[in-house]
Symmetry: D2
Subunit: 419 residues, 4 copies
């Protein structure tokens, strides 16, 4: 990678070494969760090795890598399914740290970001709700926060709240009255007008009265400790200082969080895709059938080549998107939508092909590949399902072209219909 600064490249190399020498040997058996004690131990080793929290600003104890260069480092972390947790750059914490660093008050940073960046506590992002609340369509937000004197009272149900069982606090998205959210005058204003409501984010410690973790939901992945359960907020009272940033800006902040967060998923999973391909290459190099090793058989070569192409194009798309993450929020949102669809589908294909190349071992716990497949399967749905993004991508393309034509670009579809 040509344009990476030398210090980032050096960190990437150290991360690579750490993952291969320390993390991979400690991975749990396929299908199992990582033991919490082992995790704590590995985190300590990561700090010693100077590879902990690569994305966190140095002032909060991280490696301070600029966002446009997270990708090479996160890919190395993701080469092990437990790597991101060990390096403290796993969802949802990583996205929460990024958002807190951008938006939180100094006091909030000290109280919530500091221990999170240090890996001493974990966090959850409480947005998704049971139907018909907010899912793929954020405007359906049903959880509400009502101002009551100096306090806000939050009521509502959430589900698919990743990490809820082990976290210390939640970032809760709640609908708030647009007038109460008086401060929310710019930015997301017009969107809110359309939706008839504003949204506000709150920082809610898990031990706040009224907060309860409900029924667990078992998903097929094994990479996020603490599951994805229901979480209930029953008349949960928090002070005004619990508001993250400004009231009424919840949807805008969600975008601040989302564009990088879905891209870091792409980075981490792309690392895992590389792992899967390496596994398949090793098998193809050493396994014979029909008189030659697989690596010299064309139907294996087809699978390998397609996976290389998927990996390299995903990497290119992540790089292209990363460039604007820090500088152009709107373009970042649009590009990250495309990158998310492409990469989530691509990494799934890569792992799927690796399984084909490893035969029966690939679909069993003899190798971790089918667990990898299950780890990435949900990514084609969370942070916006492929189909939801396509819907948005198509509409944006139509809208952009409509404006070009309105601005004078000649229409290209005219045919002479008359005689």
């Amino acid at each position: 990678m040509s344009h990476i600064p030398a210090d980032v490249e050096e960190l990437r190399q150290r991360t690579r070494t750490f993952i291969r020498d320390v993390v991979i040997p400690a991975e749990p058996h396929p299908g199992d969760y990582l033991d919490e004690g082992v995790l704590t131990d590995l985190k300590a080793k990561a700090k010693e090795a100077g590879v902990f929290a690569p994305h966190v600003p140095a002032e909060w104890g991280g490696q301070g890598v600029p966002i446009e260069f997270w990708s090479p480092v996160f890919q190395e972390a993701g080469y092990s399914p437990i790597g991101p947790a060990v390096l403290n750059c796993m969802a949802p914490d990583e996205g929460n740290m990024h958002m807190l660093a951008q938006i939180a008050t100094q006091e909030q940073k000290e109280r919530f970001l500091a221990p999170l960046a240090a890996g001493d506590v974990r966090s959850s992002f409480a947005m998704t709700e049971p139907h018909p609340g907010t899912g793929s369509d954020p405007s359906a937000l049903a959880t509400r926060a009502v101002k009551d004197g100096d306090e806000w009272v939050i009521t509502g149900d959430k589900r698919f709240i990743s990490g809820a069982e082990l976290c210390s606090f939640f970032v809760v998205m709640a609908a708030t009255d647009a007038e109460e959210s008086a401060a929310a005058t710019e930015g997301s204003g017009s969107a809110q007008a359309k939706m008839g409501q504003a949204a506000t984010m709150f920082l809610v410690p898990k031990d706040t009265p009224g907060v309860s973790v409900g029924r667990p939901i078992h998903t097929v992945d094994r990479t996020i400790a603490g599951g994805h359960p229901y979480v209930h907020f029953d008349d949960v009272r928090v002070p005004t200082s619990a508001i993250l940033g400004e009231p009424g800006k919840g949807f805008a902040y969600a975008q601040v969080r989302l564009a990088p967060a879905r891209l870091t998923h792409c980075m981490r999973w792309l690392g895992l895709a590389r792992r899967a391909l390496d596994t398949a290459l090793d098998r193809a190099e050493h396994r014979e059938a029909f008189g030659d090793v697989l690596a010299r058989q064309g139907l294996a070569q087809e699978l390998i080549a397609q996976s290389v192409i998927d990996i390299e194009t995903s990497d290119a798309m992540i790089t292209k998107t990363s460039e604007v993450l820090a500088t152009d929020a709107k373009e970042a949102n649009s590009r990250s939508s495309i990158a998310k669809v492409y990469c989530s589908e691509a990494v799934y294909r890569v792992i799927d092909r690796a399984i084909q190349l490893t035969g029966g071992d690939g679909v069993s716990d003899q190798l971790p590949l089918v667990q990898y497949l299950n780890d990435v399967r949900p990514f084609r749905i969370y942070d916006g399902a492929t189909e939801t993004h396509k819907f948005a991508i198509s509409r944006r393309a139509s809208s952009k072209r409509r404006k070009e034509v309105a601005a004078g670009a000649p229409r290209l579809d005219i045919v002479r219909e008359a005689r």
Copy 2:
């Protein structure tokens, strides 16, 4: 389906009703195995309902459906992931029953087929071996049987032996000396000559001294009770009467078993694909987003239409292949290879799309869909991986065309290269 005889159609309808009214309500939670006691109870109900063992000849207690009409009935059975086990038409028993009915002696049928057909015992097919033994390439068979007086002594390791933990007997494939296998003079003779060895099938009760079930292998599917463990044969002594059919004909018999066995997998999994699509259709009918139900949104319609196409073409290919199963072994083998590749990939796609349509529920245990995906994932590998079949399909196509040209068909690729 136009040409189905009335009695088969009637059985199909009854099977459909039985699955929906009796079997589906008894399904285990997604990710769990079916309880053995529940299974026993359901089998009894299936017998009462006259839908048990549809493929087994009436003389052995089944419904006696001719093989060219198994498909509609097996698809109904497969509409529940536990349906085939309940109806006693699940792999590997179903394939073993079919082979025994074709090849076994009357005495063997009474001893092994009768209780198997009645659902009183289960069986395993012990062919696959640890590398570098037989896997995708059957000629690498490493387990050996040596004649010793009136007995044969079997030695070797097997793995991925589906159902081994709960079965009563194994059909064991072992290499035997071509001369000892003197009776094997026709059929597979030339293939054996090439391979330098013959193979023979033995019926080996599990309690025979020297037989041991070894280390379990956990695969991602949940539909075959008894797992897919290692099985070891250490100087296992069996009488000559344990030989299934004739000595030396093991490879030929494997073909007898394989062509229908891989097609019945297609039938059962196609039933499950229909279940997945129905689940997605129900969700699309009732879940709103972006102002309308999913079923009226084009990106959902794309997924639905593609799945309908996959299902209907798979059904057509199974029908086309079934027609020759009983009458033309060579053509059946060739067509079933194509059908297997197509259907295994198609049913996977259908279930995968159903997950996209059901969102977060689809990748969790809120719905059974991601378990279905894991149930069918191995089918793209067992009974010949997609890539192995493609290799064979391509070679057969080349060989067929070569013969046509040799027989006078004009070559079509000639271009005038001279000036």
Copy 3:
């Protein structure tokens, strides 16, 4: 093919021989149209060989093959891009003959069907109109026919009217007043009610005053002589006896024509796909690169195997659909929609892969393959574009499932949302 009657199989074999020995040597250079004189000569030879008009009832001079067995014979015809024209089973004549045989009066049959079946004249089907008239959405029909005493006066513009330049008569679809079309009381009545209009088909000789062939439209195919030009009807007066079948039943008749017509396209193009694959197999057998012939190289094998799979599944789907063409119009319509999408896309892929296997020759006039690709490209659009069919397929699937659930089938998408 197992169930083909002996006489059809014999005709298929003779057709195969005729195509290879007589037709292929007479094919025009890639990119050129067939010379009309050569065509006339070849038709005479086809009559002599007893392979002319396979689908036409014997009473009108054809071979009288039942519709459920057209596929094997049409595939042989389609093995040459000019084969169907030579055998007089090419669109649009073939579909028109079929419709006339079903619907026309005896007098109309003698006047229009007889010379058409004999290959003495050609016909056109005038339905598609300039935007915003009828295209993918038939209800937008803009051409009108108004009763005036004993005559009807037809006015409107048509385009993409295949064969118009060389035809003798048109089957014209025109909107007619629902009350004037009093006879049209059953069948398509409700659809018409929704559309607020009826439609009627007229048999209009090309030399009728007011009929004119307009501006040509050049499409990329070369298989239909007479192009696809505009055709204009300016106050064209025809007698009531020009009505095909009954007034007001135009949409119903269009369905009668369409289901078989789009399936016979599948049959013919599938024959051409077989030709393309054979061409590629010949090249793969004789062309070396990287030290071996292509046929033994895996990336070629991937292409070959995929094409075999596409061909065999298309064939199976055509067979499945043909079975109900004569017996169940509604099911035929639904299945032929699926078959059309699948086959049109599949034959395109097969020819596309054949081009990859033949390299530079494949995209040039050194071989006819890229012309084949251009010949089949429009089929993914005409008779309903792939996307239009998918829209309909999805809606039919939703509707069918909705009825099942209404009739008592348990909903499968229910998840427990409460605590």
Copy 4:
């Protein structure tokens, strides 16, 4: 595009304006070649507008854009199928200019590069040969050059020599004796040793005695004037000064030419893909069916979104590859191989989908789309067919991984096979 220098961005904008205002209105009717007189006129206008020869160093009259920023400008040029010819950045001239600028002597540059860069003459690259000469496998080179005193005598046949009919000179690749090519001691030495021969490039004016343009080959594209005919070299005598660069380095120079040349194809065709998508978007915006405009119908949105994704990922991959074109030849070769496969397939899909969105017009000369499809179809074959690249990509991946494991990376495919 964030990192583009301001002057390149300014040139891109001017190019965009020039293409839309001047070039598009002058495009020939779909299927026709551009008139030579019109081309000459347009070239003059391009010079006036300061957009001519963007890639050519300023000293030779071009715009001097650095190679890592060619992509945005070439994409604008490619937005019209005749744009690159008008801007003098079309193959094969563009690749020849680049190679001459890198390798030619000052005298050769003045004689050959200067008029080429000025657009006064055209050139051809004579490498591909009739079978069994060099095609996808360059080592099969059959054309030979033998030293005879101060001259070299070239003998051999070439074909698919793009632009040969209108060019002034050829760059001819010929096999030369490794010892005669004494200067060729580094770089490609080992490869030559393996091949048992060296190769040398010669600059051969078309009017040299013994040079003749032979039989034309008609390919489906219309963008390269002068066709792709056979060219024959019969005892063609050229002086030693005709050698391009050094003798014996032909294969190395071919790589120098190839990596950028295939990437500039990607750039230009990506521009055309954008044109196709814009055409489809315009149609989708204005064409109604089934009660709404296409742009708001999901099956159209699927096509549009997929095309946006294809375009953006192609763009990202080109950018990623461009970065190393000037700095790392080996990495550039490897990445450009991946980019070529991906982009050639992607642009084909984009144009293909645009056709689906424009219906019958799309496959006819009512719109230029199907001609675009034919223009890009050969790109999936020339400069290395997709399958040839996949073969190489797979082998490189295996080789790279083999070295990593040899250097200590743990093998990932090990399973415990023993008991």
